[in-house]
């Protein structure tokens, strides 16, 4: 069976500046994988390539066995960007943000049906925002806002969930709810999760694999226990990761 995501020898450069060099890895169904690396290591570019937002110069990416551009049921991929920017003055409710994730699956001019509303309610409940569904996004904390965007990614029941620094600046309660949502996705629905983050303490015990990217190359790809056995804490890895993993990109 094809992995949910396979990255094979991907290379990418901006002009003459190489960013990714022969990057290869895969993510299988029901796997919980974290991707870490110092600033400038190529994480963001890799994320754009594997989501089909940028085209690699060498190698290739396959989502559910096909190139990203050829994937027809795009709802199978859920994406939580680093921080969505909504003009503060624009009144947007939490429910509207989550419902917007349902549009592509429903069709651009079709009215939402009962199953769409059920999916929105379920996604809101999974991140603990049911009571705040009608509240304006600008009135929420950073953590609550981020949970709204996570609910938007969950609303279609994705088989692969990709998250870019989802807990940056998020309070402890929100981090615990966030962890519970991801574990529920992986354990109960068999979804694959690829988490790009500097802060892994909230999910350190739940990860199946840890991938470290350094200078555009994969420096480590193994269960996180291999690191923690060496006394490396994932929660504060910026300070205590070995020099060969951290340091300047």
């Amino acid at each position: 069976m094809d992995p949910v995501l396979s990255v094979d020898g991907v290379g990418f450069s901006y002009g003459r500046h190489p960013v990714l060099d022969s990057v290869s890895f895969g993510v299988g169904a029901g796997e919980f994988v974290a991707l870490v690396g110092p600033n400038g290591s190529g994480k963001s570019t890799l994320l754009r390539v594997l989501l089909g937002l940028a085209r690699p110069q060498t190698g290739g990416v396959r989502l559910f066995g096909v190139p990203p551009a050829a994937l027809r049921n795009r709802w199978r991929v859920g994406y939580v960007p680093q921080r969505s920017v909504v003009a503060e003055q624009l009144p947007v409710t939490v429910a509207e943000v989550v419902t917007s994730g349902r549009v592509a699956r429903r069709g651009w001019a079709r009215r939402l049906r009962a199953d769409d509303r059920t999916a929105v309610d379920h996604a809101l409940a999974s991140v603990g925002l049911t009571d705040l569904a009608g509240v304006k996004l600008a009135e929420l904390s950073g953590g609550q806002q981020q949970r709204a965007f996570i609910a938007r990614a969950l609303v279609n029941g994705p088989e692969l969930l990709v998250l870019d620094e989802p807990v940056a600046g998020v309070d402890v309660d929100s981090q615990e709810l966030f962890r519970a949502s991801l574990v529920h996705m992986v354990r109960e629905h068999g979804a694959a999760v690829l988490l790009v983050s500097h802060e892994l303490s909230a999910v350190a015990d739940d990860l199946d694999r840890l991938i470290v990217l350094r200078r555009g190359k994969i420096a480590f790809d193994a269960p996180p226990g291999d690191l923690t056995a060496a006394g490396v804490s994932l929660g504060v890895h910026r300070e205590d990761l070995p020099v060969w993993l951290e340091g300047p990109g």
């Binding site: 937002l53 795009r74 624009l90 509207e96 549009v103 592509a104």
Partner: protein, 283 residues
């Protein structure tokens, strides 16, 4: 002619009311999306290109409304294409068309020998002189905008909320962005005779600025902005006939006064509220 009370008791005022209501309601609908995309001045840029289209119509003897529509759609799509391809930043792309449009319009009207009061009706609007045929065209364009936004607002909302997330979800972001630009062009041309190309962006943006201080959701912002835009047209027409003022500019001043009133009330409300929201759990 309908049996409406003063000041809408004459045929020209009733035509102005019909055209004005549709434009007043439809222009802010498109403006709501442009404001979120930080392209509030796009209407201005398109308006200047539309002016070149009007001049081309005067030069060739074709209907200025339709030549303006063609020029505006081409200009709007080109502006958005430059932005999407990152060939130019949003404001630089607007500036290029802003100045090229107005310069082209002046040159073409000069060639046509039409640099006179006729041109001013397009620059500053002339809602009291719209003909029944003009009204039918304006109402048709306006209804097209209202129906399109009514059907597709959730999709357009998804795109303006986060273009990358919308692409990952499979929405044709480039096509939708170009379609929004084309709708903005249709709006500009529909509003051209009401407030003029120099003031058209005001009718697209000012009611939105007021609406987002009154509404509690994006859907409500659309409804409020359409209602406030239509209200500005009605009040503007009443004041213009009562006081003998230029109607297009009066409509815009009413929209601006509404914006100032809502912004002031919002500031007072915020300053009187306790600092920090009970919903905020982290800094």
């Amino acid at each position: 002619m309908l049996g409406l009370p003063w000041p809408f008791d004459t045929e020209y005022m009733q035509l102005a009311l019909g055209a004005g209501l549709v434009v007043g309601a439809s222009a802010p609908l498109i403006g709501t999306f442009l404001v979120q995309k930080r392209l509030s001045l796009m209407g201005d840029g398109i308006g200047h290109v539309a002016f070149a289209g009007v001049a081309a119509g005067l030069l060739t003897g074709l209907s200025p409304l339709w030549t303006a529509l063609v020029a505006a759609v081409i200009g709007a799509v080109a502006i958005e294409w430059l932005r999407l391809r990152r060939r130019a930043s949003g404001d630089l792309a607007l500036a290029v068309f802003f100045y090229s449009g107005i310069a082209g319009g002046v040159v073409l009207t000069g060639l046509a020998g039409s640099l006179n009061a006729g041109v001013l009706t397009y620059l500053f609007g002339s809602i009291l002189t719209v003909s029944p045929a003009d009204t039918v065209t304006i109402v048709s364009l306006g209804l097209f905008i209202v129906v399109t936004v009514g059907l597709g607002w959730r999709t357009m909302f998804s795109v303006i909320l986060d273009e990358d997330a919308a692409r990952v979800a499979g929405l044709p972001v480039d096509v939708l962005s170009l379609a929004l630009a084309a709708l903005a062009a249709v709006t500009v041309v529909a509003a051209m005779r009401v407030v003029g190309v120099l003031l058209v962006a005001a009718l697209m943006v000012l009611p939105v600025g007021s609406a987002q201080r009154l509404a509690g959701s994006f859907a409500a912002t659309l409804r409020w902005s359409a209602a406030l835009g239509a209200g500005a047209v009605v009040v503007g027409l009443v004041l213009a006939r009562w006081l003998g003022l230029a109607p297009g500019a009066t409509i815009v001043l009413v929209a601006a006064a509404t914006f100032l009133a809502t912004a002031s009330a919002d500031s007072l409300r915020r300053s009187s509220a306790r600092p920090g929201s009970p919903l905020r759990a982290d800094a």
